[in-house]
């Protein structure tokens, strides 16, 4: 029962920190030591079978967290467990339980056909022959790798290589799959394919998935839960929809009136734009649109309307901006 770690998290972080010493040259033979808190007291738990998105701007500490979870970085403080294993102490034991895909790196053998890398995984993870074959067949089918197995990796496109890398990470049936920017640089079709595969994997195998990304569509289409990190701190942890409230985002109601009229008065909504008979009204995302529409319809000659959901990227950008403001306040 090494999976359950007291409080039930399959992945469990308790006030985990990672501090880097950065040396900066300040003159001839003179340098200054500075501490950078890449991860600053982060705590969260991920249950078995969850799919969690981990987002944040460049340098927020996403990859550092992933590296600690794989055991290739040792935390400077706090407690970290994956499947009951302390990653940095038992990296090799953990390696059999996890799969890792770094979008910008490859685990495949560059000069050799794809299948050669898989044969190597077969030996490296000591996968029983029957299981290896079953898993390979499944990945080949779902990731559409059939025609690529005999192609040298260096000749694969980025999307093909990424699918190849994902398959390589799954041949040993890992309980957890970490993906660091799995869709970076991929075209729309390749992205869709990767996302669909991840959803299927989770549904069929119950694989726990933790993915970092810059692409919010990855999160929207794959994850039920999202964590937002910035400056090494966890700023939000919850369902994607909740981000709107956390970011105090607004929905937009677009109304077409029968003729040009002065700006509609319908608090708490406020008119943000008028263009001829069309008006744009912003209202809090937490409010229901129905009563608002009813009120407007009663008082104005309404022809048509549409409701626009807030742009999640804008919400997050707003969160970052607010935080950045706080930080500057702290410094000065």
């Amino acid at each position: 029962m090494d999976d359950v770690d007291g409080d039930g998290g399959f992945i469990r972080l308790d006030r985990v920190e990672k501090v880097f010493q950065v040396r900066r040259k300040t003159g001839f033979l003179r340098s200054e030591r500075r501490e950078v808190r890449a991860v600053d007291s982060i705590s969260f738990g991920v249950a078995r079978g969850e799919m969690v998105g981990y987002i944040g701007p460049n340098g927020a500490g996403k990859s550092t967290t992933i590296k600690m979870l794989t055991g290739i970085l040792t935390p400077s403080g706090g407690r970290l467990r994956v499947a009951g294993i302390d990653p940095s102490r038992e990296r090799t034991r953990l390696a059999h339980r996890i799969g890792v895909v770094f979008g910008q790196r490859t685990t495949l053998w560059w000069d050799l056909p794809l299948i050669d890398s898989y044969r190597l995984m077969h030996r490296m993870y000591r996968i029983p022959d029957a299981r290896y074959r079953a898993n390979l067949d499944r990945c080949v089918e779902l990731l559409d790798l059939g025609d690529l197995l005999d192609v040298p990796v260096r000749q694969l496109s980025l999307g093909q290589r990424m699918r190849g890398d994902i398959a390589a990470a799954l041949l040993h049936d890992p309980d957890v799959l970490y993906l660091d920017e799995p869709t970076i640089g991929l075209d729309v079709i390749s992205k869709a394919r990767v996302r669909e595969f991840l959803r299927d994997l989770n549904a069929e195998r119950g694989t726990t998935v933790l993915l970092t990304t810059h692409d919010l569509q990855d999160i929207e289409q794959v994850c039920r839960r999202v964590m937002v990190i910035d400056h090494g701190r966890l700023m939000y942890d919850g369902p994607l929809a909740g981000l709107h409230e956390a970011g105090e985002s607004e929905r937009t109601l677009v109304v077409d009136l029968a003729r040009e009229l002065p700006p509609i008065e319908a608090a708490p909504a406020r008119v943000v734009k008028v263009e001829g008979p069309r008006q744009w009204l912003a209202f809090p995302a937490s409010e229901s649109a129905a009563p608002l529409v009813a009120r407007i319809a009663a008082a104005y000659p309404l022809v048509d309307l549409s409701v626009r959901e807030p742009d999640i990227e804008a919400v997050i950008a707003k969160m970052y901006a607010e935080r950045a403001g706080e930080y500057e306040g702290m410094v000065s």
Partner: protein, 266 residues
């Protein structure tokens, strides 16, 4: 047992990786042959002037040339083996991928390099040697046991060569430009392996030192075994001792480097 199969697969991969580049192999064979010809005529001129230079007669000296050409790529005397790739992986941070695998870094690269060497022994070693044997009068032994001893010496020399290059590559964890270290090591390899001139011809302290350095295990020692100029057992002990010492140093450096990465970040 499972571990053995993994490293056998890595070695097989190393072999096939180099086997895919046929044009490069052909170009290498051509280069080795031309280089062998230049050296052969240089040696002829030298040995005409000074017969029994370094204790070799002319046929032995020419054998030395063609065997060392056959071993040049095998031993990665001038670099160009796995180390460039390892240095690049350290520089770009791809080494992180290697570290989370359930495999040993040193054994992994050793297996791959042995696979590469086996390919280059067949792909780049045989042709120049046959050419040399046809074009010149060589002093090749007829006793298969001597050839067997030679192959063992080649294998041991290869492990020494690997161990040196592994140390050089790991230096990239600390140096901004790991390739500079690799070039320096390549330069040492060219001279101290005995590739340009047999180390036996160097007099005094320089000769003594050159013959005691690990690079002599790469070419000088195996060729001397083939020529019957050195004791087989003594050669194996010399090579084995360097191999063990340098591999051990590599292990220490590897664990220091890994800890540094693990604690400090890539």
């Amino acid at each position: 047992m499972g571990t053995g199969r993994l490293y056998a697969a890595v070695a097989a991969g190393g072999f096939r990786r180099y086997a895919t580049y046929r044009a490069a192999t052909a170009a290498g064979v051509f280069t080795n042959t031309v280089f062998g010809l230049i050296l052969a005529y240089t040696y002829i001129a030298l040995w005409d002037e000074k017969p029994r230079l370094g204790g070799y007669d002319q046929a032995q000296a020419l054998t030395y040339v063609w065997i060392s050409q056959a071993l040049l790529a095998v031993m990665s005397t001038m670099g160009g083996g796995f180390e460039d790739e390892l240095i690049e992986r350290i520089r770009t941070g791809d080494i992180a991928v290697d570290l989370y695998r359930p495999a040993d870094l040193q054994l992994w690269w050793l297996a791959g390099d042995l696979g590469r060497a086996l390919f280059q022994l067949l792909g780049r070693g045989v042709v120049p040697l046959v050419f040399g044997a046809l074009a010149f009068e060589l002093a090749l032994p007829g006793d298969p046991l001597v050839w067997l001893a030679f192959l063992v010496a080649v294998l041991l020399g290869l492990v020494v060569s690997f161990a040196i290059r592994f140390l050089v590559a790991l230096a990239a964890f600390w140096l901004m430009d790991g390739l500079g270290a690799a070039q320096l090591a390549g330069l040492c390899g060219i001279f101290f392996s005995g590739m340009l001139l047999p180390l036996n011809v160097f007099p005094g302290a320089l000769g003594e030192i050159a013959r005691a350095l690990p690079w002599s295990a790469l070419i000088q020692r195996p060729v001397d075994v083939l020529l019957g100029e050195a004791g087989v057992l003594g050669t194996f002990v010399f090579q084995g001792a360097w191999a063990v010492a340098l591999l051990a140093a590599g292990r220490v450096l590897q664990s220091v480097a890994t800890r540094r990465v693990v604690v400090q970040g890539g």
